[in-house]
């Protein structure tokens, strides 16, 4: 009997984090529905839901990279700048007549390279991730400014817009498709590949991981490269959505991505968390924004409320730890 009880406890402890998160989503959903009704509007429409996902899409995809890096016990401050930099690189290439597919590849390559450089400094260089990516953040933002002379680049072929404007099955925005595909892919990688399990080990205890035969430096570089890749995908999406290249694009996205990961229950000290929940985190943030827009609340309030949500989400998640003390 005691054995069964322990089992139940263990199950509850393990799944409590997830449960709190889903309850939170349900609560916000319900609150939004009620509030919108009071304003005489419908919250729960297909259009609104697609809107929420579309709005969340860029941050949600960047947050995949942020989650990976946080899982290794690091942090990435660069992705917002990667979005801006990649946009300018892509924009200038497009203007000079490079075909769109090559531009996309160029942008992704630029993101991966910036990630590899950060990864080299973090792993072999032993420089804290915070410092390396803080530097990378400023270098890339400055780089974007230098490349375009501080002025937005525009006048692109119309096919660029299709990357974000296209609809699937008549009404599903293509960004919803991007989000779905990338999240399914990363969840598969985390669960079924050696790389995925090693990412958790790196954040759990890097010394033990090394003594378990993991080439820790190599794996870390891979993770930072992926961080750069996902940020660059976000950058291309941003370029397509705006259809002009703004050197300031994406500023603040790094924090939103971290917030999405943290709300989703990824532990900032690494080693623990489920990347699928990062998507839930990103959707929560976007849901708040959408709901508040429907209510015509000024954006200042949105910022206050998302700030509260970040802290409260982690507060709820730490319920068990508080009670153990």
């Amino acid at each position: 009997m005691e054995y069964i009880l322990t089992g139940v406890r263990e199950f509850r402890q393990k799944n409590l984090g997830g449960m709190v998160l889903y309850l939170g989503v349900a609560a916000i959903f319900l609150a939004m529905t009620l509030i919108c009704q009071a304003y005489g509007k419908d919250f729960l429409t297909v259009t609104n839901i697609f809107n929420i996902i579309t709005q969340a899409s860029i941050v949600a995809i960047i947050a995949i990279g942020a989650s990976l890096i946080i899982l290794t016990g690091g942090i990435d401050l660069a992705p917002g700048s990667v979005v801006g930099f990649v946009g300018i690189v892509g924009g200038l290439a497009l203007k000079s007549g490079v075909p769109l597919w090559a531009v996309v590849l160029l942008c992704l390559a630029a993101g991966v390279i910036s990630g590899v450089i950060s990864g080299l400094f973090v792993s072999y260089g032993k420089v804290p991730a915070f410092i390396v990516t803080l530097g990378m953040m400023q270098i890339l933002r400055g780089g974007a400014m230098v490349l375009c002379g501080g002025i937005a680049v525009s006048g692109f072929p119309s096919e660029l817009k299709l990357l974000m404007n296209a609809k699937l099955f008549g009404r599903m925005p293509i960004s919803v498709f991007y989000v779905a595909v990338l999240y399914i892919a990363i969840c598969f990688v985390m669960k079924y590949t050696r790389f995925g399990r090693r990412v958790y080990a790196l954040g759990g205890n890097i010394k033990a991981a090394r003594l378990s035969g993991i080439a820790v430096n190599r794996e870390l570089i891979k993770v930072y490269a992926l961080g750069g890749l996902f940020a660059a995908i976000g950058g291309v999406m941003m370029l397509a959505r705006l259809s002009y290249a703004d050197p300031n694009a994406g500023s603040g996205y790094e924090m939103q991505a971290i917030a999405a990961a943290v709300i989703g229950g990824i532990s900032l000290s690494g080693g623990k968390g489920n990347i699928a929940n990062t998507l839930v985190g990103a959707l929560i943030l976007s849901m708040l924004t959408c709901g508040l827009q429907i209510m015509n609340m000024p954006t200042f309030y949105q910022s206050i409320i998302s700030g509260l949500v970040i802290v409260l989400a982690v507060f709820a998640d730490k319920h068990d730890e508080r009670h153990q003390e």
């Binding site: 009997m1 005691e2 054995y3 009880l5 322990t6 089992g7 406890r9 263990e10 393990k14 669960k191 079924y192 590949t193 050696r194 399990r197 090693r198 958790y200 080990a201 759990g204 205890n205 010394k207 033990a208 991981a209 090394r210 003594l211 378990s212 035969g213 993991i214 080439a215 080693g271 623990k272």
Partner: protein, 491 residues
């Protein structure tokens, strides 16, 4: 020796329906050294945590000088003069000794700290514990033994009445241990009640007055140390008979050399040469700082060698741990908590980690990993609720068995064990020795670094004694060696 200072009676505590303390009793007189012993998981540390206010007990009572103490918190325990010194010290390395002693109760002038006064007072307490140092020395520059004395000085400055020492000699040399015992004897003279927790049997008879033996959360005996002996204590602790020594090694194949170390030099050791044959146990011992750890870490590629060669299965070894592990040379660290296992991850994840290549086909299937983990958990009798249990919830012995399990599955040829049974109770220790025997039977070899001389003599086919970074003696363990001879070579 005078009246009863501390009495804990009928202490019970459960976690998730599992009783860790079941009507436990402990009574300590003032001016005695009271040994608290029992296997890992017997409830010693839980009982101490109840005393120090870290745990709240479900039932039972604590009396200090006949006065009941209720609702203990760590703060309250400290105010009552109950001080616990754990193996991991509670000191701030970047602060000087005197500030550490007075942390939280700095002697203040009107507004500012009075550093001069603090230094003078600290010097007084330091003298009491025989610590001859400038009070302004930074704690990070001290040796382990000195840090321990700083902890004791800190306790005295808190007007300690009950001092708990948790495995105080685990990291000390014999000389330092002797000095610590002198300090303990002086504290005893002053009427302080000392609770002494250790796995080292011989120390009990040297320093102890009375002892309390725990098993499965209960107090099984309270004895006068003079009226008992090692055999009786072991029997009380284990509740069954401990195995006899191993004789002869049928697995040894002298003609096959698996590991050859040739004039190896690295940090703290120089000119080390030896060979390890198939099926052999080569024991390396030495005091702390003798270089025995560095040799093991250097062979493994964790430390870089400066000169010399390490040949594994006829080839130069790889310069990285992952390279060596890939070719079948594995290392079981003495620091399970920090290097052996990922504490926050499950038994299954830890088991799978070094074996991902073998378990992936090419993708990992949860079923396959689970099957392999279950098989080894059963084979090595690892006590865990499930394979999903976090490793940090396992006892030390079971953690060590899990470390062995994950490497066993990897099918290595040479296992480097660093302190295979440090901090592990007698019962689990025997089980680990049996597993090591099976490793040999499977045709692999063991390089064992240990400071436990009994273990060294019991398991090794050959013995190397290191001192000051060099090999001092090499012996065949043919039954004529004893602990004194080895100690003499090491010191």
């Amino acid at each position: 020796m005078s009246g009863e200072l501390l009495k804990m009676s009928n202490i019970s505590k459960s976690f998730f329906g599992v009783k860790v303390l079941d009507d436990a009793e402990l009574s300590v007189r003032s001016g005695e050294v009271h040994i608290l012993l029992g296997e890992n998981g017997a409830g010693k540390s839980s009982l101490i945590k109840v005393l120090s206010g870290a745990y709240r007990c479900d039932s039972g009572s604590i009396f200090l000088e006949g006065r009941p103490l209720a609702d203990m918190t760590p703060r309250k325990a400290l105010a009552e003069g109950i001080s616990v010194i754990y193996q991991e010290f509670n000191l701030l390395p970047e602060l000087p000794v005197y500030e550490n002693i007075f942390l939280g109760k700095e002697p203040a002038g009107r507004l500012f700290l009075d550093h001069k006064k603090a230094r003078e007072q600290a010097a007084h307490y330091m003298k009491k514990v025989g610590l001859e140092l400038d009070p302004s020395t930074l704690v990070r520059d001290l040796t382990v033994a000195q840090k321990q004395l700083v902890e004791i000085a800190k306790s005295i400055s808190n007007r300690v009445r009950i001092l708990v020492l948790d495995e105080p000699t685990a990291a000390l040399t014999d000389k330092e241990t002797g000095k610590l015992f002198e300090v303990i004897r002086e504290l005893r003279e002053e009427g302080i009640g000392i609770i002494y927790i250790s796995h080292r049997m011989r120390e009990f008879f040297e320093i102890g007055d009375r002892c309390t033996v725990m098993r499965d959360g209960r107090t099984v005996a309270q004895l006068d140390i003079r009226d008992t002996d090692e055999d009786e204590l072991t029997r009380l602790m284990v509740g069954r008979k401990v195995h006899a020594k191993r004789k002869g090694n049928p697995h040894l194949k002298q003609e096959q050399v698996l590991l050859r170390v040739d004039s190896l030099s690295c940090r703290n050791c120089s000119d080390i040469s030896f060979v390890l044959h198939r099926g052999e146990v080569l024991g390396i011992t030495g005091l702390i700082g003798s270089g025995k750890d560095e040799v093991a870490r250097c062979i493994m590629g964790i430390l870089k060698e400066n000169t010399g060669h390490v040949e594994f299965m006829g080839r130069e070894h790889a310069g990285t741990p992952e390279g060596n592990i890939g070719s079948g040379l594995v290392y079981l660290s003495d620091d399970r908590k920090d290097e052996g296992l990922i504490q926050m991850h499950s038994v299954r994840d830890n088991f799978a980690l070094p074996n991902l290549k073998r378990l992936a086909a090419p993708l990992l299937s949860r079923k396959r990993v689970e099957k392999a983990t279950k098989e080894y958990v059963e084979k090595l009798k690892i006590k865990t609720h499930s394979t999903e249990t976090e490793v940090q919830k396992l006892s030390g012995g079971n953690q060590q068995k899990l470390v062995i399990a994950k490497w066993l599955y990897s099918g290595a040829d040479v296992y480097i064990f660093n302190e295979p049974t440090r901090g592990i109770d007698v019962g689990a220790r025997e089980e680990i020795y049996e597993i090591m025997e099976e490793i040999l039977a499977g045709g692999a070899s063991i390089l064992m670094v240990t400071s436990d001389l009994q273990e060294l003599l019991q398991l090794s086919d050959r013995i190397l004694v290191m001192k000051d970074g060099r090999v001092r003696r090499e012996w065949n363990n043919n039954g004529t060696l004893d602990e004194q001879m080895i100690l003499a070579a090491a010191m």
